[in-house]
């Protein structure tokens, strides 16, 4: 399964690049499939409430026909409801593809993945009931195929298909049941979003307003210009060789009709099981880059900043076990089952006492010291600190522009002391390239970086640092021009800037914090 992640990531980056070229990274819909799906669910609930007013369980097709005959509102709201449900499936599938490709389906994120799979199944069933409710030929076909599948289960002795034999009208109770499920399942899915997002400290529920207007407007325009027609009423005593089907919800129909029901069940359950167990198949050992953060209690001041910055609520403050007068009463503790190793806590900790192994602030500073202690470091070029996931294809062109490229797992992991020390070590300037904020694997890396650089959020870039020599920009696949333009502007700016004073490199670490020796055993 993990072997599929690489081609999936390649295809995702290609699609991302194409979408960014057209819409820009701010409105790239592929970065926001989850929030677009949530917005579409809201649209479906609103349009569904309108349709519910006119639906009659005693005369399902006739009531929909009356709606369809209304040229002003009914027809296009029905079409909007239908097309929005299709778009919802597309958005959810793209969302799952993105998370799978970016290896974001395992470990602490497994709950979100498995609940997402269940939510998608609920949407499929809800869509199935919605089409059956219309009771046109497609709805009847879905009902009969579903009944055929259901009859394969040893549940009822009387075949459900007898309801659709045609010797008597389909009872209203059947349509009422469908109506109930069609209303209850999306509401359940909306409630299920709570579980889906429960691991997140600050979930983003909606895409930017411009994207909402764009998606809703496009679907509304489609509904008005090319509304969905209503198929003829279901007739259980005729064989329809073709039905106008919605492939987003009925892609399984040809297989279900062609295969024996038990085999169709095996296929459906195998697919569901496979999707459900992807976290199991794609998990990694929690070492190296996947090691969870740890708190070095000797350095923890109990400031409560890392729990605030952690997007996964993986850090809590607990009473210190062996508190002395000089130490804080509380100390941070990381729950490794919730920590996704994004390293944002490392960037939030002024005394550099927390973070994943080898990515704490101290580790970053130590690496920088190792570099600047080499001969000739005073001739450093402008530094580009890049998110390693943002756009790997942009790194070579950036180097070609004269940048000293350094990678971080997430810009939120970057400790601001590294920026200051880089400048003090002689770098003419430090440019930090983030991923597109809505595509951050650490969720809030660009946001916290900005706050730490410019708004004095702990661990802030010290006021003594000349902000003219520091800049941030987004590096998004498909926007190489944007990456290079930002670099050119930055280098032009720092070239024109006269530095206030020549920094010294006497004790760069001591300028930022009290030196505390690293002891691996104590961590």
């Amino acid at each position: 399964m993990r072997a599929l992640e690489r081609p999936a990531l390649r295809s995702l980056r290609a699609a991302d690049a194409a979408a960014t070229r057209v819409y820009g990274w701010r409105l790239n819909p592929l970065h926001q499939t989850g929030t677009v799906a949530a917005a579409l669910l809201g649209l479906l609930i609103v349009t569904g409430l309108y349709l519910l007013i006119f639906y009659r369980v005693g005369a399902p097709w006739q009531s929909v026909q009356r709606l369809q005959a209304d040229p002003f509102l009914g027809r296009w709201i029905r079409s909007l409801h239908r097309f929005a449900s299709d778009a919802l499936i597309v958005a959810v599938v793209l969302h799952a593809w993105r998370l799978f490709a970016q290896a974001r389906a395992w470990g602490p994120r497994a709950l979100a993945w498995t609940s997402g799979v269940v939510l998608l199944s609920m949407l499929f069933v809800s869509g199935w009931t919605g089409y059956v409710m219309v009771w046109d030929r497609f709805g009847a076909q879905l009902a009969v195929s579903g009944a055929r599948m259901f009859d394969a289960l040893p549940v009822l002795s009387e075949p459900v298909r007898r309801v659709f034999a045609g010797d008597q009208p389909v009872p209203s109770a059947f349509f009422f049941l469908n109506l109930f499920l069609h209303v209850a399942l999306p509401l359940g899915a909306a409630a299920g979003l709570w579980i889906h997002l429960s691991r997140l400290a600050r979930p983003t529920l909606l895409p930017p307003r411009a994207l909402v207007y764009g998606v809703f407007g496009a679907l509304a325009a489609l509904s008005v210009l090319l509304p969905s027609p209503l198929a003829p009423e279901a007739s259980l005593l005729t064989v329809a060789p073709r039905v106008p089907a919605d492939l987003f919800f009925a892609f399984w129909l040809p297989w279900a009709n062609a295969l024996p029901p038990w085999l169709a069940w095996v296929g459906a359950m195998a697919t569901f099981g496979l999707a459900l167990f992807i976290p199991r198949f794609t998990r990694r050992p929690r070492t190296g880059e996947y090691a969870p953060s740890v708190v070095d209690e000797r350095h923890c001041t109990g400031c409560n900043q890392c729990p605030q910055d952690c997007p996964w609520e993986a850090i809590t403050m607990v009473p210190r076990a062996d508190a002395t007068g000089a130490q804080s009463a509380f100390v941070g503790r990381v729950d490794p089952t919730r920590c996704v190793s994004c390293g944002l806590c490392a960037g939030s900790c002024a005394p550099m006492g927390v973070g994943p192994m080898l990515r704490t602030g101290r580790d970053q500073v130590a690496r920088l010291r190792a570099v600047v202690s080499l001969p000739g470091v005073r001739e450093l070029r402008p530094i580009a600190i890049c998110c390693e996931h943002a756009a790997p294809a942009h790194l070579a062109p950036l180097r070609a522009q004269g940048a000293e490229v350094r990678l971080v797992s997430c810009v939120g992991n970057l400790h601001t002391s590294v920026v200051e020390l880089s400048l003090r070590a002689g770098a003419p300037g430090v440019m930090i390239y983030t991923c597109a904020p809505r595509d951050c694997r650490g969720r809030e890396g660009p946001r916290w970086l900005h706050e730490r650089l410019y708004n004095e959020r702990e661990a802030e870039l010290q006021a003594r640092v000349d902000r003219t020599l520091v800049a941030t920009a987004v590096m998004a696949p498909g926007d190489l021009d944007g990456t290079l333009d930002a670099w050119r502007q930055f280098t032009a700016r720092i070239a024109a800037h006269e530095r206030a004073a020549t920094p010294t490199l006497d004790d760069p670490l001591g300028a930022v914090c009290e030196p505390v020796p690293f002891e691996a055993e104590a961590r």
Partner: protein, 202 residues
């Protein structure tokens, strides 16, 4: 034209193509059956006949039973199985043994079968024949007990219940033997009429 405008045009075009694909996927004609075919559908729910041996209890035996178990006729048996045979133009489509529903086969006999038929004039022969005929069906009779007593009333009620059960159950044989014109894309439905106790073709 500036690059910004080109981007807007490209964005509109991409959105239009995406919407077109969305609509096409939403309204795809899906092949679910053959053009030149019809369907023979058998669908019914009927109670199988109970094959049982009954014995009339004497007054002494009856008196030994608890009050709530005093039935004059004590019966043991099972529900009958039926043989379903369907053939079209002499070609057998199915021959199958049909039992009542439930683990003990004591529930109504539910059936739903479909067979593809070629359109045209077809001779349909179909029968549902009771298999278990060796035992005497419902061997209890309306025996005489002194009229006017509580025991007689109870026995009368038992007799009525047996008659209702018999009337509700499938006869020993129900059959259809007919020639008909089958149109393409039509469903010929064979069901069972509880009232007339026969198979109905429509």
């Amino acid at each position: 034209m500036s690059g910004r405008w080109w981007k807007r045009i490209a964005g509109t075009l991409v959105a239009a193509v995406a919407l077109w694909l969305l609509r096409a996927g939403s309204l795809t004609p899906l092949r679910v059956g053959e053009e030149q075919t019809a369907l023979l559908r058998l669908s019914w729910s009927a109670r199988p006949e109970r094959i049982e041996q009954c014995r009339r209890l004497s007054d002494a035996e009856l008196a030994e039973r608890p009050q709530h178990m005093r039935l004059r006729w004590e019966c043991e048996g099972r529900f009958a199985r039926y043989l379903l045979s369907v053939s079209v133009d002499g070609r057998p489509l199915t021959t199958d043994t049909i039992r009542g529903g439930g683990l003990r086969n004591d529930r109504p006999m539910h059936l739903f079968r479909e067979f593809a038929l070629a359109p045209g004039t077809r001779h349909l022969t179909m029968s549902l024949r009771r298999i278990d005929a060796e035992a005497r069906p419902d061997s209890a009779t309306d025996a005489a007990t002194a009229a006017g007593t509580a025991a007689a009333d109870r026995e009368t009620r038992e007799g009525q219940e047996r008659r209702v059960r018999r009337a509700e159950s499938l006869p020993e044989l129900v059959a259809i033997d007919t020639t008909l014109r089958v149109a393409a894309q039509r469903v010929l439905l064979v069901s069972y009429s509880d009232v007339d106790r026969r198979l109905v073709l429509r």
